[in-house]
């Protein structure tokens, strides 16, 4: 996968790494069993502190998306084909979605426009995820 980190962004680097990995899993670029470089390797490639990558990987592990291995780096643990999410995930996610949609409403984005944006974004993920993410 391609991992691009914006150095001027207000979003912390560990959060950007975590977000890019989640997006890569959603788009099917990464599937169950896909390897990721070790934290040290990725830190050296990005030229950033290794604790930053560690923080991102740890976040992904706690979300159940990544399996960390001291020796071989990290492996993707779940994707779209792994079944429905855990109950606590849906709860957290709905809370975050509420904030995201509130932003759209507060900024005057119409309901129809907000829904269309959701739909087109989702369509990009699911189409590619169905195409490549199926277990072999």
């Amino acid at each position: 996968m391609i991992l691009s980190v914006d150095l001027n962004s207000e979003v912390p680097i560990y959060q950007q790494i975590r977000d890019r990995v989640v997006e890569a899993i959603a788009s099917g670029e990464l599937a169950v069993g896909s390897p990721l470089p070790s934290t040290r390797q990725l830190a050296a490639d990005l030229g950033i502190n290794f604790h930053t990558v560690n923080k991102a990987y740890d976040l992904l592990r706690r979300e159940g998306l990544l399996l960390l291995n001291r020796k071989n780096g990290a492996v993707v643990q779940r994707d779209a084909s792994s079944g429905p999410p855990a109950a606590h995930f849906t709860e957290d996610w709905t809370a975050r979605l509420r904030t995201l949609l509130a932003e759209a409403v507060a900024q005057g984005m119409g309901d129809r426009e907000a829904l269309a944006a959701c739909e087109s974004t989702l369509a990009r993920f699911t189409v590619t995820a169905r195409g490549q993410g199926e277990p072999a």
Binding site: L3, S4, V5, D6, L36, P37, A44, D45, G47, I48
Partner: protein
Amino acid sequence: MTTGELLPRALGPLLFLVTAWLVPSLTGPTLPFGVRVPPAHAADPVIAAQRRAYRRWVGAAGGGSLGLGLVLALVAGDASAGSDASAPVDAPTGLLDALASPVTVLGPVAACVAGFVRARSAIRSVKLREDWYGGLRQAVAVDTSLRTRPERFPWRWSTPALVVIAATAVAGVIRYPAMPDRLPLHVGASGAVDRLAAKTVFSAFLPVFAQIGLTVVVIGTTRLVFRARADLDPARLAASVLQHRVFLSRTAISMQLLAAAVDLTVLVAAWQTWGGATTVNTAVTAAPALAGTVGVIAVAVRTGQGGSRLRVLVQAQPTAERTAVHWDDDDRWRVGGLCYVNREDPAVLVPKRFGFGWSLNFGNPRSLFLLLPPALLGVLVISLNLLGDLSC
């Protein structure tokens, strides 16, 4: 000094000047003279003008200095050849001779350094004045597949070096009984044997040991840099990943062939000294190593740093993903932009920004460990030389 003796003296500096003249073409368009510039400014007039000025400077000042040094050597040689060899050399001739070497060797180096510093600071000042990075999204990009599906090291290209070493060992075994009682330990730059030792297995097979040491160092270093990080361009990611892969394998192949070429030079020298020769034919002996060096330079010119000169066919990147540019990392490159010093960067080896190959991160203490093997090799060579002195 005759004209024939001038050629080997001129060859090194000449090769250096040709390489220095080519270097600005080796790095990609967004890294002129080690200055990071955004793609939108890669064709800025100041860059083209500085490239021309640098080349004029290298050609005129560097080439002029080399020519002057050779003339000095020629004049000094003629003057001393006219007098009796045992007579003391008169002062003006001695001075000419003493001046010839620095002018031939240091002159071109100084000319290139001055040209580089000038071009770099000129481009940098325009970049800062016009704020080329103002308002641009700066990013660092990584392709994890370079780690999870790494390029394979082309080990089979080490075969030529291994064959040359084996051939040298076999030739040594066959010729051992007929070798003279005293064997050379060291051959000077002029081709004359300047140190001898009694015939032992060590002194007879010294060339083979030298070949093995040299090959291990060259291939070991190449293997190490093979895993160093790539410098990818976020504005054209897919292309730069592909370029990096080709660059890696070509560098590894050319370095292994260089090791074979230098081993061959050692074999040619050994073949002559094993027969009792007290001088070796410099031209014939140096030819393989020289050919190997020219080969490495040719591969560098065709490939470019990080594969920047390779044409690769990839799908154009969607514009939304193209908005970010490679971050401006000029501040992390010190000493005229040639030394990378970044304490926060865990990487030890990083791609050079001016030239071809990799450079150490001097901000990382682990870089010192990489400097250790060459230092040990130096100590080994010096102690072998001392050993040779004692046994004489």
